[in-house]
């Protein structure tokens, strides 16, 4: 018979960190769905249509929506998938994710800031799906920072 042991502060931190990592994985999935939708819209040309929802057609048909011949949204989908994969690996105790996850999310956060700058000051139009993606990335950054602090205690 195993005596029940009261959770120690370190196991409580581990549990909290796991919850944060699960949240990171779920958010990354949301970001991936958003980016995949935008990629399909880009590839089918639907995003180029003029619609009453002002902004998306201007943003997604601009020259900034394509990088090296690939729709920027597809690169975003790949980045979100990488975040999801790293979070899942971290959840299962793979140490390799230690530096990669914060580095990737940090880079995505910087790119999101640049894309918001482009929408506000260069293209002069906002796309709600791009803003949603930026919001998800900022939340991911926050969660990664909190998770890192929880893990370093």
């Amino acid at each position: 018979m195993n005596p029940e042991v009261a959770p120690t502060p370190s196991t409580r931190v581990g549990k909290r960190e796991n919850i944060l990592v699960i949240l990171i994985a779920l958010l990354a999935l949301c970001g991936m769905a958003d980016a995949l939708y935008l990629t399909v819209e880009h590839l089918t040309g639907e995003s180029v249509k003029c619609t009453i929802i002002h902004g998306c057609s201007e943003v997604l048909s601009s020259s900034y929506a394509v990088v090296g011949g690939f729709p920027l949204a597809s690169i975003g989908a790949l980045a979100y998938f990488s975040v999801f994969s790293l979070a899942v690996l971290k959840l299962f105790g793979y140490k390799i994710t230690g530096v990669l996850l914060p580095a990737l999310v940090g880079a995505m956060c910087l790119v999101s800031v640049y894309l918001i700058y482009l929408q506000a000051f260069v293209i002069h139009a906002f796309c709600q799906f791009c803003l949603l993606s930026a919001g998800i990335t900022f939340l991911l950054t926050l969660l990664v920072v909190v998770s890192w602090r929880a893990g370093s205690r």
Binding site: L29, M32, A33, L36, Y37, T39, V40, E41, L43, T44, G45, E46, V48, K49, C50, T51, I52, H54, G55, S57, E58, S61, A77, F81, F84, S85, V88, L89, L91, F92, Y94
Partner: protein, 235 residues
């Protein structure tokens, strides 16, 4: 097994994501039949050319602005906005199709000005409809699209459009009155109602013999193939 579980989860998610993207792309590419509003198609105004009315949806303004005979085997109906850049790009393609297919293709233009985001879209659509009252819709249609970039940035488009009216030989004083008249407003409203009944959400939206043409099929080479398919009965 526990060491493999994360990789199984990752590959499963990748599979679901790629599958969903493929399904989404396929469903967007499918030529969609237009919404069928039973009972409304038969309410076309008396004397309206039935060949001009794409089956399904409520009828738009009649008589519709058409190029090509009503007896043409292929009917293309465009919902357009004169201030929309992609509509401007589609304009020469449709001119080319009209020239190429002649009597075998009828092209109908429906007004679908998007306000917002296009501040001059209604003024442009009204100008085209006012020109139509003097029998020069297509002349105004062409001049508006051909000069889209010029007037799109202008603060006040009225003098520009009056200039176009003069250029195509309209009675400018009558044009100025008609632009703000009820007849023009009614036509814009009727075309808009038809567009909404067909599920039109953006411009350009094109229907070919009653089926929506995906935006990516609007370049000349792809549109030509679709029209030819309609003419040959899909053979």
């Amino acid at each position: 097994m526990k060491r493999l579980l994360p990789f199984i989860i990752i590959f499963l998610v990748l599979g679901v994501a790629l599958g969903s993207a493929y399904y989404l792309k396929r469903s967007t590419n499918d030529v969609k039949p237009i919404a069928n509003n039973a009972g409304t198609a038969s309410t076309a105004s008396p004397g309206a050319s039935q060949a001009n009315v794409t089956p399904g949806g409520v009828p738009g303004a009649e008589p519709a602005h058409t190029l090509g005979p009503a007896s043409a085997p292929a009917h293309l109906e465009e919902f357009g906005d004169f201030e929309c850049p992609p509509c401007g790009l589609l304009h020469p393609i449709l001119v080319e199709m009209h020239r190429e297919f002649g009597d075998r293709l009828q092209i109908t233009f429906r007004e679908f000005p998007l306000v917002p985001p296009h501040q001059h879209a209604v003024a442009a659509a009204s100008s085209a409809e006012a020109a139509a009252l003097q029998g020069k819709f297509w002349e105004m249609h062409d001049i508006l699209y051909e000069n889209q970039k010029t007037w799109h940035e202008a603060f006040d488009v009225r003098p520009i459009f009056e200039g176009y009216a003069k250029q195509i030989g309209l009675d400018v004083e009558r044009f100025k009155q008609d632009v703000n008249g009820d007849a023009v407003a009614r036509r814009l409203s009727q075309d808009g109602i038809r567009g909404h009944s067909l599920g039109v959400k953006g411009t350009p939206t094109v229907f070919l013999n009653g089926r929506e043409v995906p935006f990516e099929s609007l370049p000349a080479d792809k549109l030509r193939v679709l029209i030819n398919l309609e003419l040959t009965g899909g053979k």
